[in-house]
Amino acid sequence: MATATGVYHTSYEADLALRKTRAEWIRLGLIVLLVVSAPFLLNPFWLTVANQIGIAIIGAVGLNILVGHTGLISLGHGAFLGVGAYTSAILVTRLEAPTLVAIGVAVAVTTVIGTFFGLPSLRLKGLYLAMATLAAQFILLFAFRNWDFITGGTDAIVVASPEIFGFTLRTDFHWYWVIFGVAALVVFAARNLFRTGLGRAFHAVRDQDIAAAVMGIHVGRQKLLAFAISSGLVGLAGAMTAHYRTIVTWERFTLDVSVLYLAMIIVGGLGSVAGAVYGATFMTVLPAAIQQLARNVRDTIPMLGREIPAIQLIVFGLVIVLFLLFEPRGLDRTWQRVKDYFRLWPFRY
């Protein structure tokens, strides 16, 4: 990856800045413009998709802190999403807690549970940790389905549209601002996290845990912290899904969801905050686009309309496999290459 030449930092502030060149500021402005104008331009179907993207961004950034930045794998994040959703929904429906309080408690509960299931990471790495978190996924899903006295079992919990500061969030349009406001905050916080000692310690643990320990980093504590932060953010995404969708059922938090979120960060780019955003967008738009496409060609090729679920599965799997084989560092890397191409044009390098 070529770096820009001719950009000199003459002060520490400039060196530490998140946005360094004018081009970066212009791109940021364009993105803000796009995000702000989107809800006025999109039709209801795509507005719903946009809201799903926003929630997925929160979860994917959270998962990426654990997987991409700290190098620990988790197959249990689908269930952690469920912990957030169930906690918040139960607090609101049974205890009539205010929505914001419920979401706050949900984040705290998910953090604790996520950290608890992260405990095996103190001894285990790689595929063993994958197994341990897989077990967490199945155990939590069992709790959602069978602990009737807390979760209502296999029946769905119905949540009323929430009221925040005297304003009721009912339509997709209202929700859009809340979701993208929170998502922007999360992205900003995550970008900053990796400029602090804590974030750099995560990277050190990922790159070489023994060397990290030699440098005085408490590897175990960093791993648990990564689990805590990551599952806290995923819990936030879960709680928001609960209030946005107004229905909570265990079917939304299966192993497939864990895999979906992992797919997002792999497609986007492991260990990159921007990558998590790209991946969340890509993996949310993809099934929606397939669905729309199939609906359009259903009359000409009826077989395709019938086989949508199967086609979605195949495409989903192929996307994961092909990205890992041909662009293992994800869309983030693609974007860097595109930028380099135009910056260096007409030369190759």
């Binding site: 997987v67 077990a135 069992f142 320990a213 086989e307 195949i314 799997g317 994961i320």
Partner: protein
Amino acid sequence: MEQAEVGSAYVETFIQLTITGLANGAILSLAALGFVIVFKATGVINFAQGYFLLVGAYLVWAGMVQFNLPWFFAVIVALVVAVLMGLATERFVLRPLVGENVISVIMVTIGLAFVLQGLVQFIWGTEPRPMPAFIPRGTVELLGVPVTLNRIWAVVIAGAVLAALTLFFQRSRHGIAMRAVADDQQAAMVVGISVRKVFALAWALAAASAVLAGIIVANLFGASGEVAVFGLLVFPVVILGGLDSVPGVMIAGAIIGLLVSYTAGYVGGGLQQVIPYIVLVLILLLRPYGLFGEVRIERV
């Protein structure tokens, strides 16, 4: 008198549960075996193993029902197709990822699992297909308890395959080469073993054993998505047995099978679905290398 009757009913339930558990355990061992072969030789954890089972079951079903082949030929055809699939997986999906980090390797096999699941759904749909009865299905009395024959056959077939593979690993040239590669790839290369061929062989064997396991599972439950769910249960088995141990897999399969069966019989309430995973967590916390796996200690 009454006391004795209650007692004998209790014993009967116990024997029944034990036999069911052992039969399921045998199938689990067989399903887990393909997993262990691949892990032993190549160090890859194959999350698609359950879907290999699924594909195997549907291939045999298609051969017998759609193409009207005698069961023997249907099984042969399924084995050939599955071996080709295993070889293709190794060559085109996993070989490019040699040396990549564990997360990528795990995710690529998960991606593969989705592709296989989608393909099976695309070709054969989602409704369960009853398997034609080519394994006898009657019941026999065993220790005074009625037992279905296909469960006994499952134990016999699984036992025979496991014994054959154990012999293969202990005695045959290729089996020893596989163990050498598993032990140390570079050293194996130095003594002239083709690591590539061993990898290919491992995937071929894994696919073939998955077909056999798939047939047995499908024979019990019909060819449907359930077969792949059975495939997910192999994780607790392989971890309990030790990821690289063939005898470990047999014993762990029996333990998990019995545990599930007793929990279902005596506790119930769906607990039998998660008990294997609770065992999995405990084993990982207390003894991550399993009962019989090679102890590798690395401290940070």
